[in-house]
């Protein structure tokens, strides 16, 4: 056993500082979003800011527990934790409580927990554990498959709850796979598919086919001497055409109107701020009305008077945008990016593969949340209900992200003791 004196010795204080900075800013904005003159005691437990203060306090307890724990415990218990997490997700189908249309909660009296928030760090531990196992390589089809199963099993359970936003987060692990040796082609292919997907919705299929055929023609001309290349180009072209066709078909025949509308609004094809695009429109109004320096703390009318839906959870960034303006919003964006950079830098200095992979998982998950959440509030992505890490109101998500980050900080503090 080590002495308490050395307990915090090797901790990366930059990460700790960034964590508390974001959590504090988040709390200030939750206070502003819920604020009214009648209830202004910050400890009022009937108000969200009061509860969030409780979540922050209990998170500190979680942090201390992690710090006192043995760092090797996480590696040892990675799979058991993962399995418990999967079971807790499955248990939702039986014992889950439905909140806002999704059966993703366990209720304990007035208090509820969302296991999908904890599944993230569990999956990160399991992924790190598996990929760091001797002999497992991203170059092996079998190992890739097992890694995919680990990552997408929780997602597959979460989707039908239904909570597609939380499920989507698991695609962030592709970045981890990339870091561990998966060919960059998959990442580019992924991006290409996303771009093709958007284009096929924006442009009529016929023009898109002509466009792809033209590009294919150019490549065939360039590689006209290589029979193999030509075959691959033609195969890719046919795949693209098939993909476009299926997207077109899915969009027009499989998707329900509400999904179609959401996507159409996002693509700028339908302008309907009063109807289905209401959330995005109100969110952009709130942020846009903040101007350069914002309306001032507690002065935001859009968030205070409930024009922005889900403003203390998924749309918390609106409060930042409205009250702190462009300057404040940019500071928050920069704080997040600093956090991501720091996690990668810290991950890269790990001697153990487990710690490194876990670190990349943390960075990828947080980055994905950040990217989708903020893109959604500023009208760059469809409304997908996922929280902004450390910022959004909610005990489960704060606890989940705290566990995620501080297990990594603990692993890092222990890096010297690994031979």
């Amino acid at each position: 056993m080590r002495s308490n004196g050395s307990l915090f010795q090797n901790i990366d204080w930059i990460l700790v500082f960034l964590y508390f900075a974001l959590a504090l800013l988040g709390w200030l904005n939750i206070y502003a979003a819920v604020y009214n003159e009648e209830f202004s005691s910050i400890f009022d437990m009937s108000q969200k800011y009061g509860k969030q203060l409780l979540w922050i306090g209990t998170s500190v307890v979680i942090i201390l527990v992690i710090m006192f724990a043995d760092a090797t415990l996480f590696q040892t218990l990675a799979f058991p934790i993962y399995i418990i997490s999967i079971l807790s997700l499955l248990g939702l189908f039986v014992f889950g409580k439905e909140i806002a249309g999704a059966q993703s909660w366990y209720a304990f009296g007035s208090f509820s927990l969302q296991p999908s928030e904890f599944a993230k760090f569990a999956t990160a531990l399991a992924t790190a554990k598996y990929l760091s196992t001797k002999g497992v390589s991203m170059n092996s089809w079998k190992d890739r498959f097992v890694a995919l199963i680990i990552v997408f099993l929780p997602a597959a359970i979460i989707i039908p709850q239904p909570d597609p936003g939380s499920a989507l987060v698991y695609s962030a692990f592709f970045l981890v796979f990339y870091r561990e040796g998966l060919s960059g082609n998959y990442i580019f292919a992924g991006f290409a598919l996303v771009i093709l997907f958007i284009l096929s919705l924006l442009i009529s299929p016929l023009y898109l086919f002509l466009f792809i055929a033209a590009i294919a023609g150019i490549f065939i001309f360039l590689y006209r001497r290589s029979r193999g290349a030509i075959v691959r180009i033609i195969a890719l072209t046919l795949l693209s055409v098939g993909f476009i066709q299926s997207v077109d078909y899915t969009f027009n025949n499989v998707l329900e109107d509400r999904h179609r509308n959401r996507i159409n609004i996002l693509l700028g094809k339908a302008h309907d701020p009063k109807g289905i695009g209401y959330n995005t429109a109100q969110s952009m109004i709130a942020i846009g009305s903040g101007g350069l320096t914002g309306k001032g703390y507690l002065e935001g009318t859009q968030t205070k008077f409930d024009f922005v839906p889900e403003q203390s959870t998924d749309f918390i960034f609106c409060t930042v945008g409205e009250e702190w303006g462009f300057v404040g919003s940019s500071v928050v964006v920069i704080l997040f990016v600093l956090l991501f950079f720091r996690i990668i830098i810290v991950a890269e200095r790990q001697k153990s593969a487990f710690s490194r992979i876990y670190g990349y998982s943390v960075a990828s998950i947080l980055f994905f949340h950040f990217a989708v959440n903020i893109a959604m509030t500023i009208g760059l992505a469809p409304v997908v209900g996922i929280p902004l890490p450390f910022f959004s109101y909610g005990g489960s998500s704060l606890w989940g992200f705290t566990l995620l980050l501080f297990i990594f900080i603990k692993l890092d503090s222990n890096r010297m003791e690994i031979l």
Binding site: L175, G288, F305
Partner: protein
């Protein structure tokens, strides 16, 4: 290349995209700021009380009552129990659907009127439940409240501003009320005041959260000014009662000021019909009544040949022109004869009549001869006719009076040009226009012009433009149009002999049946020829003779001759105004109960028979 760089690339790339996007929506685009204000700020109009209207003795004629419009903002309406809601508001489901569609067509975000002018009692009964229906809210409105079932044509009514009116008057908004007729229209500017504006902050459920910027941009309502009008409501009401069952009008003016004491048109309507939710329906019903024409203000709009009362004006012109003296006498041979021309007379005299008796007996021969004398006093008929025409117009006839009533007619006084057009330059002479001598022919006057002419005679040569306004917010009228006298072209010295003739009409002439002990009345009966049916009964009078307090003109349509209906009514009106009470109960009862309904029905039948005949002949 190390793989971490792709991560760095993603972090920096996305941060740049986000910051650029934030810069775009927060700094470059400014329209979000406006949208945010639209979200939060609700502009509420605070309508001031419309100015009150009192009669000349301070009796309240038109007051205010509160009513509530139920407004709707379609965007905020959530699914509701339509049946319960309709029951609460007392409307049908069909109306609910059509009103909702109408509101959506106008705007999703801006409020529209959903249910108009709900009574205060009804509103209070549903007030508490209304809040559970999102998107609906009350808007207080001021409605008019009429203390008397009387003078509807004088006070007029207010109604929702029409689209055309709104286009010309930017300070009005859809749903605003505006004077449509009468004093409400003439003095719209005075009565209306200015609505105040309150900017309130509302939340997404449209609950008021406070004032925007502590009310920095709010304006207080500027209440409308109260008006004291010149009407004597007791006299007005009495006139309406006397005219009950008859068509026509009574116009009474105070000669010393030009103030209109009574302006009765018959038939009229109950002003309460023009208030509340039934207004449109009632208005439509009154509007289409082409037989009774209750919305038609006969006192201002109906044009009649003035008949015998006009003889007084001819007498005055003759005196002024020197073609008549008080002693000029003509002998009547049952009428005026010139060549083949013949104007009958029923004065029943066969001895030389001096001017005074000519008036009191209303001899047609006397005034045809007098008129011929006036015209022929000039070298040619053109000059004579134009000189005559100018004199007549100086009594306020043949032109707009330019008064403060929102409607009126010019009437018609012919001049030489008129006869040139009708007969050619050389085709006419004095006798061609001889019926002008007895107030018939092409002459047309409105009852208010006739009353004003009588006031000019009562004043011995001048009149004040008749007007309905006495005081605004306690301040007397200062408009010189109403405070400066307009003089006739006839010198005051000529009036006394004529007035003596009018006095004799009551004492021993055509109006002696309407004489009243104690008040020296002067008057002139008349019968306006009516080619469409029974002649109209006309009477003009003023009293007392030496200190005129009231000048009055009365026309009873199809009332046969002047002394039958118009003269007794005038006499009772004068008695009522000067003495405040009626002593001749038999006469009063005969006038109150008397009706010409049978006469009107007979005419209506005749019209239908004629149409039937035409139809059958086809």
């Amino acid at each position: 290349m190390e793989r971490k760089y792709l991560f760095y690339f993603f972090f920096i790339g996305l941060a740049l995209i986000f910051i650029a996007r934030l810069f775009y929506i927060q700094v470059i685009r400014t329209d979000f700021r406006l949208s945010a204000e639209n979200n939060v700020i609700r502009k509420e109009m605070v309508y001031p009380g419309r100015g009150l209207i009192f009669d000349r003795h301070g009796k309240l004629l038109v007051g205010n009552q509160s009513a509530y419009d139920i407004m709707v903002i379609p965007l905020q309406v959530e699914s509701l129990d339509t049946l319960e809601f309709c029951g609460l508001l007392g409307i049908t489901k069909e109306l609910f659907i059509s009103k909702m569609a109408e509101a959506k067509a106008y705007s999703y975000r801006k409020p529209s009127v959903f249910v108009k002018q709900m009574s205060k009692e009804h509103y209070i009964s549903l007030q508490e439940k209304l809040y559970s229906f999102k998107g609906f809210f009350p808007q207080k409105r001021i409605l008019r409240d009429y203390a008397y079932n009387s003078a509807a044509n004088v006070t007029g009514f207010i109604g929702e501003a029409s689209d055309r009116f709104l286009a010309d008057h930017p300070s009005y908004k859809k749903g605003d009320l505006v004077g449509i007729t009468g004093i409400e229209k003439s003095y719209e500017e005075v009565l209306r005041g200015r609505a105040g504006i309150q900017y309130k902050m509302v939340d997404v459920h449209n609950r008021v959260k406070g004032r925007f910027e502590d009310g920095k941009y709010d304006t207080l309502p500027d209440p409308g000014a109260d008006i004291i009008c010149s009407i004597d409501i007791d006299l007005q009401k009495y006139g309406e009662q006397l005219m009950n069952g008859k068509r026509g009008s009574v116009v009474a003016i105070e000669p010393s000021s030009g103030e209109i004491l009574a302006l009765v048109t018959s038939p009229s309507y109950n002003p309460e019909l023009m208030v509340g939710r039934e207004r449109t329906k009632n208005y439509g019903r009154l509007f289409v009544d082409s037989i009774e024409k209750p919305l038609y203000d006969r006192g201002l709009l109906a044009e009649y040949p003035p008949g015998s009362p006009f003889k007084v004006v001819n007498a005055l012109i003759g005196l002024q022109e020197g073609t008549l003296t008080p002693n000029t006498s003509y002998t009547c041979h049952h009428g005026f004869h010139y060549g083949r021309l013949h104007v009958a007379c029923h004065c029943g005299t066969s001895y030389p009549l001096p001017l005074r008796t000519g008036i009191s007996k209303s001899c047609n021969n006397y005034f045809c001869t007098a008129f011929k004398g006036i015209i022929e006093n000039y070298p040619d008929a053109h000059q004579g006719m134009n000189a005559w025409s100018e004199h007549v117009k100086s009594f306020g006839l043949g032109k707009f009076l330019n008064n403060d009533l929102p409607t009126g007619r010019k009437g018609f006084v012919p001049d030489a040009d008129y006869y040139d057009r009708a007969f050619g330059y050389t085709g006419w002479k004095a006798v061609s226009a001889i019926s002008l001598g007895i107030g018939q022919g092409e002459l047309l006057v409105t009852p208010i012009q006739l009353a004003n002419m009588t006031a000019a005679i009562a004043n011995r040569g001048y009149y004040y433009t008749p007007h309905i306004l006495k005081k605004v917010n306690g301040q007397p009228v200062t408009d010189p149009n109403y405070t400066e006298p307009k003089h006739t072209t006839v010198d005051p010295k000529h009036f006394d002999i004529v007035i003596e003739g009018m006095f004799d009409a009551f004492e021993k002439g055509t109006a002696r049946g309407s004489r009243l002990e104690g008040i020296e009345m002067c008057g002139k009966t008349g019968t306006a020829e009516n080619p469409h049916g029974q002649d109209h009964s006309i009477f003009v009078a003023f009293a007392p003779k030496d200190d005129p307090k009231i000048a009055i003109a009365i026309i009873v349509e199809n009332g046969y001759w002047g002394s039958r209906w118009a003269a007794p009514i005038a006499s009772l009106m004068i008695e009522k105004y000067i003495n405040g009470e009626i002593t001749r109960e038999t006469l009063e009862k005969r006038m109150l109960d008397g009706t010409l309904k049978e006469e009107y029905q007979k005419q209506l039948d005749a019209v239908y028979d004629k149409k039937k005949l035409i139809a059958e002949n086809k």
